[in-house]
């Protein structure tokens, strides 16, 4: 229902939408994020449940196309009055920044720091964009697909005396 409202008030903002297992999802372009968020807030989606990202390293970057760019920044909203949930996805290319929502939703502050830390996606206008979970001179962004699970040899996984280290954990 809210998707129709967005479509009516901001025509062309929604580039793609799907409904899988009852989870409403819309894909919007980066430029429209703040307008859509303002509208959502008016519609009663006041609880920003989560911000996260997904890395799709093989996806080509076609400017302007729906669902292009390396990362998806994923927002989850909850409407406390109608208990409706909405997922908003925002494709961004590597190195591209995303407008911060920290001014409107205080909870966005740490979630955005976490995404910045683990994926390396910068947020424009964030008051305090520092790493959240890893430490300051941590090499790389761990949740990117090209970051090895054991951090490469960076943390001395190999060659140490402990016997359990000899075999690699089998991957999928």
């Amino acid at each position: 229902m809210v998707i129709e409202h967005i479509d009516a008030q901001l025509p062309g903002a929604i580039t793609d939408r799907h409904d899988f297992r009852g989870d409403q999802t819309i894909v919007i372009a980066k430029e429209n994020l703040l307008a859509v968020v303002a509208l959502l807030h008016r519609e009663g989606f006041q609880l920003l449940v989560d911000i996260t990202a997904v890395d799709w390293p093989e996806r080509p970057h076609v400017p302007g196309a729906a669902g292009a760019g390396r990362f998806d920044v994923v927002y989850h909203w909850l409407n406390l009055a109608s208990q409706e949930r909405l997922r908003v996805k925002l494709p961004v290319a590597e190195g591209e920044s995303v407008p911060s929502l920290a001014g409107q939703f205080k909870t966005a502050n740490w979630f955005e720091r976490e995404v910045f830390d683990l994926f390396g996606i910068p947020f424009d206008g964030h008051p305090d964009l520092r790493r959240l979970l890893t430490w300051d001179d941590f090499p790389g962004h761990p949740l990117r697909k090209d970051f090895p699970l054991d951090g490469g040899d960076a943390f001395c996984m190999e060659g140490c005396t402990a016997p359990y280290n000899n075999g690699e954990r089998s991957r999928g």
């Binding site: 899988f20 297992r21 989870d23 999802t25 006041q46 609880l47 920003l48 449940v49 989560d50 996260t52 997904v54 890395d55 994923v74 989850h76 406390l80 208990q83 949930r85 997922r87 939703f105 205080k106 909870t107 502050n109 740490w110 979630f111 976490e114 683990l118 520092r130 790493r131 959240l132 979970l133 890893t134 430490w135 300051d136 761990p142 949740l143 970051f147 699970l149 954990r169 991957r171 999928g172």
Partner: protein, 401 residues
Amino acid sequence: MTMDSIALSRQLLDGDKMIVNMGPSHPTTHGTLRIVLELEGETITRATPEIGYLHRGVEKLGESLSFQQFIPLTDRLNYCSSIMNNVGYAHAVEKLLGIQIPKRAQQIRVLMSELARIADHLVCVGVNAVDIGAFTAFLYLFKQRETIYDLFELAVGQRLHTSFTRIGGLFRDLPEGFVPQAERFLVECEAAIDEMERLLTRNPIWHGRTRGIGVISAEDAVNWGYTGPCLRAAGVPQDLRKAQPYLGYETYDFDIPVGTTGDVFDRYLVRTEEMRQSLRIIRQVLDRLEPGPVMVDDPKVALPSKEKVYTRMESLIHHFKLIMHGMEMPVGEVYSATEAANGELGFYIVSDGGKNPYRIRVRPPCLPIFSSFEDQVKGGLIADAVAVLGAMNIIAGELDR
């Protein structure tokens, strides 16, 4: 800018202020987090929290494990109420698969979740009391917690990290003797909560330390992303068990306690009442527990019984397929939330149809709550920071993942 240089630069700038470094190893942090407090006398003028000291890389690890193998990792998220994490995760994967679990499995999941909720609240209230200085309540409450662990051990074989659920149900049925022991627990626990209330609820010292500390308005709480007891204490009656029922919660009769000011005392009252409501739910589950299977009857999801694997070709093939290739997962993404002891525990799973999840995200209830810490303690006394921290119930395992 590193945390140390933040601390240092402030000290240089404001000579008359004092910097106190709380954590990462501090008795009241219950886990590992660090707060750099800037004090003027005993008043907190600034508090900069830092987390990540227990960041173990669970989300990354999940990408290299199959859907079933991730269950033990969920135990270690909120280690005070492991079973609820198991249930939340299994529920999310079942949503992705689009399957319904048998009635008995649902009932046992509710039963175990509510036991875990009581255990979590007991730890939270007990430890909050210890930090403020009331040691007696802690000992009374921990006695009950041991009883809950005995029940878990009886049903699952482990006290803390249960890994009780499987995708599609549970790995075993309740053993004989569980129900009478649980009924005995209901009576004892009720008495223990009464005893705790006698120790704390009208205790003037407890009032002095908790009333008006950490006050938050309903709008602010929603804006900060609060969920669970902390949100309800602020006056928002949001409980996913009622608002978006799962596992048949709509069929149970229970109330949602709501506070008014959101301060530490209200959070304590909400948690206490929630324990009583959980006891009510457990009683209803025990009354209506009906016999039946605890695992879905779907060879593409559930492992066949050992007996069948040894005697039937088809079961052997299913067993082999499930172990070697995993379940057949649809391509898609789901977000599924359950009401954990701390609030909304969400799992966002992206599947590319492979054996392992493509991306698995845990939405921890503590993280948004803890992010408001500075707001909560600013202008208060340093001793109040401890009370607020205890009432937030920060569990580092799910905070940092």
